[in-house]
Symmetry: C2
Subunit: 323 residues, 2 copies
């Protein structure tokens, strides 16, 4: 018989900074271990300290290089740093990851850095549900900052942004009408803009367009202490400008504290987290109704056009309520 | 007072082929109209006829051009065609759409074609839930084929693939190690491979790699009537090879019927659809528990580390069950 897992002991060891305990805990939460609840209970008292920094942008803007440079800058000032690289599980994006991880390898032997790729393929809603738990592990393990790096495409990225205290949106010049294309969504999510590859042609133009875009969002009569996203230029591959990014993140943290926005975001995040877990539980129950026969039988009637899917959903939920 | 909407009348008019009724119905389902249930009930008896063809691939492979060329080919043989272009609502991808729609404009005045872009921004889980309903509208409106075009990135794309009877995966030469990168996921989802831009260097190489990859998936002792995804080469911008794509889709449809796979996929699709609707309903209820105070209060305790999110989820679900 396999020995019973001691979640509390594992959390104690993670808090001591044992990399293997941290890795083990993340694997357990990622794979929905039967000990998930015990682990969550053991982690809870030690969470809420880390600053969560989201880093997102279109493919090719230099996310991994920037993450690596940020890690180096944070390490130089003694911060303990966690990195969660979230791959939104595309059949088409998997190939890029190897190179990314290689670039991060300079930090692989630093015991003040935990790096973890989260694969979410096949987990429906898996991102919303397992990433916060991995974040809790890194938080409890004493990370001062956790960087969550995502490819800037699709809903999953938006979900991850909702985890962050501070969201950095990366752009690069010469990516087509990047700013124009991005307009629709990034103003709402960006706390800090970084124009990477700033030594290339068009960097000034990209920054100018961004500045114009930000100014359009200005309120004529600023109501109180508003945050205006700064624009930082970097050449991440040479480490240029990266300390400015750290300074911008620090300034944003101060603003979060001062304005009360930090608490608001964390409450929002906790709500999303509870919701995601509850929905996952309901999803499991839906499949179990009537010894797992109810859903297939309703589906048969819907496929045959005898029943519409809304009434089928009602029937299923009624049967769960009946217990 | 606004006149009450007559869902049955609207469905009758859509079935007659009135474009405005079709557009109205899709808007209503997309925006979660209060008449959603009535509409779903009115549509149900008329659904299940259309062949749903998913079309996916990485940005830049020529999805919109291919869709447009396929529409033209299907129209030539008298099919009524629906197109759902699903934008997975990325802050970073919005800009590309205008050009796409312009390219489709050659079909804008053809009353045998319905074209609709589905924006999903902000709808959490919105894709899983509103796209199938839009599909039902086009199906009931008498479309022989509905093409669902998605950008091949992220979970949302996988969700949409699950809607299709036949999934076409588009590739193009010179997109880096595209096939390699794609390996992980596309074999499972592709029923037909299309190598577009086949007049470019590297097209033969891309096709060769694909063929090799498919052969690796061959079972040593084929168990019964298996489908082996064909590889079709096209230059969609000149219409070359597009009839071959149609022929491959037809062949796949025959196989779906013969093998019973079509029924299996449709049952699966109905299950997902019912599940998505049920989860959406539960999500709404979660926010309403205790006059909408329960979730924020639990979130407060989770954010403070007093409670773990799993126990918070249990409490919330218990309160829903208590009614």
């Amino acid at each position: 018989m396999a020995p019973r897992l001691d979640a509390v002991d594992l959390v104690v060891r993670a808090r001591r900074g044992e990399a293997r305990a941290v890795a083990r805990l993340i694997s357990l939460v990622e794979n929905a271990s039967p000990y998930l609840r015990e682990i969550a209970a053991a982690l809870a008292p030690y969470t809420g300290r880390a600053q969560v920094v989201g880093l997102t942008g279109a493919p090719g803007v230099g996310k991994s290089t920037s993450t690596s440079a940020l890690v180096a800058a944070l390490r130089r000032r003694g911060n303990r740093v966690g990195v969660l690289a979230v791959d939104p599980s595309s059949p088409f994006s998997g190939g890029a990851l190897l190179g990314d991880r290689v670039r991060m390898s300079e930090h692989a032997t630093d015991d003040g850095v935990f790096i973890r790729s989260m694969a979410t393929r096949g987990h429906l809603g898996g991102l919303a549900w397992s990433t916060p738990q991995a974040l809790r592990v890194l938080d409890a393990a004493g990370c001062d900052v956790v960087l969550v790096e995502t490819v800037g495409v699709g809903q999953s990225e938006v979900d991850v942004v909702s985890l962050a205290d501070t969201t950095i949106v990366l752009l690069a010049p010469g990516m087509g009408d990047e700013v124009q294309a991005a307009k629709a969504g990034i103003l709402e999510i960006a706390d800090v803009f970084v124009v990477n590859k700033a030594d290339r042609d068009g960097a000034a133009q990209t920054a100018r367009e961004l500045r114009h875009m930000i100014s359009l969002g200005d309120r004529p009569n600023g109501d109180g202490d508003l945050w205006k996203p700064p624009i930082v230029r970097t050449v991440a591959s040479r480490g240029e400008g990266v300390d400015d990014v750290v300074a911008a993140v620090d300034a944003h943290r101060e603003w979060l504290d001062r304005s009360g926005e930090r608490d608001r975001r964390r409450l929002q995040r906790a709500e999303s987290e509870i919701q995601a877990i509850a929905l996952e539980q309901v999803r499991a129950r839906l499949g179990e109704v009537g010894d797992a026969t109810a859903l297939p039988e309703l589906a048969k009637r819907v496929a045959a056009g005898e029943l519409d899917p809304y009434r089928a959903s009602d029937e299923l939920l009624d049967r769960i309520a009946e217990g």
